[in-house]
């Protein structure tokens, strides 16, 4: 028996969970169960992130996506969860449209994904190196933090000479400082906007109907 490649094993595990529950989301018509399946699917996806060495993104996925966004979503489900809306059956024509578009898209994406030889994984020679790369704990938090603050540690790989570093720094390498700021402002705007949208008018206006 061949040795089990544990990375592959866990990849298979997580991807099966993620895909199976994503399909369950599509097939279920009970909104609360959909939310539950979505949680499992996204949690498994975060497992894939961890597997691929993106620890920080994986933890972020768990915290913000699963722990924040989905709680919000479930909150919405509970607030609007009136008897008839729990089970809204989809229509036949939209099913047809969705499946046709989906299958076409899937075929296209599969073809594209499998089309590039280099994407199929490391070559035999690279195997040991790959094992090593996955074996060591990945340090992702600090580089990402630095990148968001404008310092691209990974771009400094080129050389250790002070001149080269200085050149890179002075060469306008701002990392992701600007997008980071934009996202911050964006979040603030969204926060205010969402609060304003969900905030309701005086009782008398809506209740009188």
């Amino acid at each position: 028996m061949d040795a089990i490649n544990w990375h592959t094993f866990f990849f298979l595990l997580f991807s099966l969970v993620a895909c199976a529950f994503a399909i369950a989301v599509v097939l279920s018509s009970n909104i609360v169960r959909m939310a539950f399946y979505l949680i499992l699917s996204l949690a498994a996806t975060s497992g894939l992130f961890f597997l691929a060495g993106a620890d920080f993104v994986g933890a972020m996925q768990l915290m913000i996506y699963v722990g924040g966004t989905l709680v919000l979503l479930i909150f919405g489900v509970m607030l609007t969860n009136q008897g008839p809306y729990t089970m809204l059956k989809s229509r036949g024509d939209s099913w047809l449209l969705g499946v046709v578009a989906g299958v076409g898209l899937l075929a296209l994406l599969t073809y594209t994904a499998l089309g590039v030889r280099d994407w199929m994984g490391p070559t035999e020679e690279q195997l040991a190196e790959t094992q090593l790369a996955f074996a060591q704990p990945s340090a992702t938090a600090t580089p990402i933090g630095n990148a968001l603050l404008g310092i691209r540690v990974d771009k400094l790989n080129g050389g250790n000479e002070p001149d080269a570093q200085q050149q890179v720094l002075q060469g306008g390498m701002s990392g992701y400082l600007l997008p980071f700021e934009i996202v911050s402002v964006h979040l603030l705007v969204v926060l205010i906007g969402a609060a304003h949208l969900a905030r309701t008018k005086k009782r008398s206006d809506t209740r009188s109907t």
């Binding site: 607030l79 009136q82 969900a198 905030r199 309701t200 005086k202 009782r203 809506t206 209740r207």
Partner: protein, 406 residues
Amino acid sequence: MATQTGTAFADDPRIIEYDVRTDEMLINMGPQHPSTHGVLRLVLRTDGEIVSEAVPHIGYLHRCAEKIGENLAPRQFVPYTDRMDYLAGMNMNLGWALAVEKLMNLEIPEKAKHLRVIIAEMNRIASHLVGMGTYGLDLGSFSPFLYAFREREKILDLFEEACGARLTYSYLTVGGATHDLPATWLEKCEAFLDQLLPVITEYHTLLTTNAIFVRRAANIGVMSAATAIDFGCTGPVLRGSGVDQDLRRDGEQWYTEMYDGYAFEVIVEKDGHYPKDHEYPAIPKTAVLGDCWHRFYVRMLEVIQSIDLVRQAIDRYRTATGSHCVPVKLNQKLPKGEAYLETECPKGQMGFFIVSRGEAIPWRVRARSSCFSNLSVTHELCRGCLLADVPAIVGSLDIVMGEIDR
């Protein structure tokens, strides 16, 4: 009952805005709910956490005691009064005995009167301790409940020694009491009182002045004096709203003569202060007269007041003359007439009404329950409060279902 959805809610000026339209929910709180003090059932109409209407449904413990009273001699009816406010059986016994004595125009000996004061005030302490403990429980604090029961156990031990029963005493009966107090009982009682007084201070620390407790009880369920009177609220509930009334001082001669010469002040707020016999914690700034905190506080102060009264009564009892009772025959004919007498029980004013047509068995017996009136105000107080406030408000009314349903 308002059948149309949300009428009570929409009309309430206190609720001007709401965030998300959620449909109103009818929730059944009780009769098997942990914090409804027995088999009370509250039907809550809620919008999210906000309660728009709380309708009490009672009668799960109804035994038609009044009908029973029409078929029994007054002395036989005493055990049934025990089962009304079963936390203060002695006070129920006393109220009934006094009403019958009023009808029979029966004068009881000096010694029996002081004995009655001792026993009735001791039972008031016991009842208030339970009220305090369960109120802590309603607000989520478990330990004070057990402390309160620990002290109450000692009172029950004393009662057991005096009459043999721990809950349904039938001790104070028509004509006095069934037995005299046993030897050394008074000493034990005094020792208990000495031990209880400092403990009360600890309860004040645990509950009365606890920051969370104050937040939960102060300015919740505020009831004005006018509302309290309008709804017939009595006892600590009435005094908590600042109405100066205590039947031990203001009642009929038949009752107040028991307390003649006793030094006590009615526990009611005057000018932002309660009468100070001991060092009491100050009234928190957020507390408003008539809120849950004040009702609770009045009870706490009444415990201390009762300790004082028992001490005075013990002194008088020691020097009193006469017997502990005058004999009343079981089939003694009642004089023709009607008598209504209210007494100040721990929960409020308990009244007994007897109509006699000259036979040994009364023609009609009526028990006016204090908790019955006190509970009827729930609907008014719970409007617009939060769900968590409902137990706080109902708990502050300190109800006993046995008395309400009779």
